[in-house]
Subunit: 161 residues, 2 copies
Amino acid sequence: MASTPTSGSQSRHSLGLLAHLARVAQREGESLPDERGLRPRHYVVLTLLRDHGTATQRGLAEALRMDPTNVVGALNDLESRECVVRRRDPEDRRRHIVEVTDTGVEALAEWERALAEVEDRVLGALSEDEREQFHALLIRAAGGQLPPGACAEADQAPPAC
Amino acid sequence: MASTPTSGSQSRHSLGLLAHLARVAQREGESLPDERGLRPRHYVVLTLLRDHGTATQRGLAEALRMDPTNVVGALNDLESRECVVRRRDPEDRRRHIVEVTDTGVEALAEWERALAEVEDRVLGALSEDEREQFHALLIRAAGGQLPPGACAEADQAPPAC
DNA sequence: ATAATCGTTTGTGCTATACCAATGATCTAT
DNA sequence: ATAGATCATTGGTATAGCACAAACGATTAT
């Protein structure tokens, strides 16, 4: 084979595993019914908004690595269901400040409740402790990915934020 | 809110973060040129084959959560580039046993080399130790997802396999 | 006044993928 | 031996998610 004898950093190729696991989760959870007609991408927006507070749409697009035009669409869907509101930014009236509503928070909570079962299946091989670690690492890793002041999943105010 | 105030398990919603991180990685790495004309999905197949040894196509489809017909296509691409070989299973001549070739291993190694830079960006917020932990957890989690006897990323012979 | 920016709409196209149907080879069971 | 199931394969269809481009109104900055 290609040698690589030692043990530590030679095969730390996590990205493939990460993608695979995400894929498993997606397929596992795509059967989740949602009476609201919202799709996963809507919930990632909601998650960011809930955990970060507010954001401009441009900020959302950057943080979520989504195309700005698609953010608009997602927000339209969310707004028509009263899950978010758009206000004009008084400091720059071109901007919209997006905020999650109570309805949105509740919708997200429901979604997460349903997702918990999927998570049990996907991360079933992990012990309770390991899941805790895993979650903490995810937060740290993802935190490094949010360019502006955004901080997803900032439930317990991670230090970095 | 949904109460559950303590600290640990109330917000252990890892799936959203997982998906987000995978998305970031994908977008970050989609610019990776590949002179072989192989796409990420080809490499996940190669990865499984290298780390598990061999597999039937049906096994691959299950393990990778891919539709069997699409597996055929990926294998055709890989075989035409001499990255894998298909042999008939002597025990059941309907089956094909797929095996990665030296060329395939090398192609995968190249790909992983290129991917390492992306990984540095995506997991940049994690320390060396944390990345190690993260990788170990991913292996365990993903290992629980491989139904047959398949065991992806079995570098240091994880106990479960 | 001019140019740049933000959000928005519309449309276009690509990629990945699931899905269905049909076929030949092979295995299993009766 | 016959019948039915299974595996890999091929071909075709359909859909979802996205990126991307072009144009517009409103607003800000120069």
